[in-house]
């Protein structure tokens, strides 16, 4: 059986079908989005929009396609139909790297890159489209990660430490939108609270089983 088609928010500029757009141009939006995986339709005709400084929580049971949707919003996968737009311009027009530099996707289980997180920062500074605008080490300290951990190999970091490093690497670029997939799943309540503090005022689309994180951010909730 195919999952029910969801219209989770209004189409940008389309007058709204339950969207809370406030009349402004959404920073990130999606129209008529469809994703199929191995012949199974995860969602189709999906539209959503998030305004500057707003938090949007994608909710739904495991396997309903939350990660697939976030990956599409992060422009890591090709949608089967529909468009993802940043500031009204399609991701396609931005071009993959330029779009992804502005819309930072953080995976639930951060990849263990070669070398140390400090090496990753050095690499990031050489990336054409990316800008390191803030000190990632200081950002991570704010999330409860000691600075010394940046010189440990990625492979020696715990799940929670890797999540905080990955989040700091996203925050340090001051992206226009953060797309976060369960980024507090390996964190204790104290660290999760620090993450919430760091995300306040930022434009965020997140999936989180922990409803308290979304509540603390005042996130609007949409269900898949």
């Amino acid at each position: 059986m195919l999952p029910q088609v969801q219209k989770v928010a209004g189409r940008p500029g389309g007058g709204g079908t339950g969207a809370r757009l406030g009349g402004g141009m959404p920073v990130l939006s999606a129209t008529d989005l469809c994703r199929r995986v191995e012949g199974r339709v995860l969602f189709e005709g999906l539209a959503l929009a998030v305004e500057e400084g707003e938090a949007l929580r994608i909710a739904g049971p495991s396997g309903c396609g939350k990660t697939s949707l976030l990956r599409l919003l992060g422009w890591l996968d090709r949608p089967d139909a529909g468009e993802v737009l940043l500031s009204g311009r399609t991701a396609r027009d931005w071009g993959g790297p330029a779009f992804r530099a502005r819309v930072a996707f953080v995976a639930q289980q951060p990849a263990r890159l070669p070398g140390t997180p400090a090496d990753t920062v050095a690499w990031l500074r050489g990336i054409h489209h990316a800008r390191v605008e803030e000190d990632p080490v200081a950002l991570a300290e704010g999330l409860g990660l000691p600075a010394a951990r940046w010189d440990q190999p990625w492979t020696q970091l715990s799940g929670g430490e890797a999540q905080r490093v990955a989040l700091a690497l996203a925050l340090c670029r001051r992206p226009e939108v953060l797309v976060l997939d369960e980024v507090t799943s390996a964190l204790d309540p104290e660290a999760a609270a620090a993450v919430v503090q760091a995300l306040r005022g930022r434009t965020v689309v997140l999936a989180s089983h922990d409803a308290r994180v979304a509540e603390a951010l005042g996130a609007r909730e949409v269900a898949l």
């Binding site: 930072a104 953080v106 054409h128």
Partner: protein, 263 residues
Amino acid sequence: MTGPLPLDAWQLLLAAALVLVNGGLSLWLRLGLEKKLLVASLRTVVQLSLVGLVLTPVFDLAHPVPVLLVGLVMVVLAGREAVHRSSRRWPGVQRTAFLALLIGPGFTALLATGVVIGADPWWRPQYLVPLLGMLLGNALTGISLGLDRALSMLDEGRPVVEARLSMGATWWEASRPVAADALRAGMIPILNTMSVVGLVTLPGMMTGQILSGTDPALAARYQVMIMFLIAGATALGTATAVLVSVRAAFDGQGRLKWGWIGR
């Protein structure tokens, strides 16, 4: 200097008797290799005899077209073998291996006969065919190792590549470490060979030349040239195969494709 001593059928049979020792060992230790050994031995006899039969008229015709045709067939067969040896493949890998072998060993062999050795004419089969064969044999090993490494890093290492992409990296910025590692893997065998050549191994070409009565010093100079040519051909071929394959793994938006790598 004298030419090589004649080699009759009974002498080949005598050499083949040594393969029986392998068969005996396989039976004794229950290795189950007897059938493979028999097939491999028969293939050796048939393939090399056929090469001898084909090359004799090609040498006699003294025309570039049959020589280049033989070279093309060798490149195609080497391309198939390079792909066959790699545990992973992608839809265009066969064409890519062919292109890589044309650019690597193909170009290097022509450069060697036309410029380095200065054969007259440049397609002289006595030089071009064996040189191409040696370059192909080594380059296909490098290409298959390089392809295997690149494809496995893109497949199993997808989260790492995508982590780089999601930080704004282009396909090349995200996959440059993959390409570098794959190139390194492809070059290791020839670098290892170059380190020990002459100390623990006498390469086939040098051995063949010495057996044919060539002055060992001249045979050594030829072998030095061959080693350099092999290194160049392997690097060019492996780089072509790896770079084309890595680029093909990403779509026009710099996203790593799904379901693109098969086994």
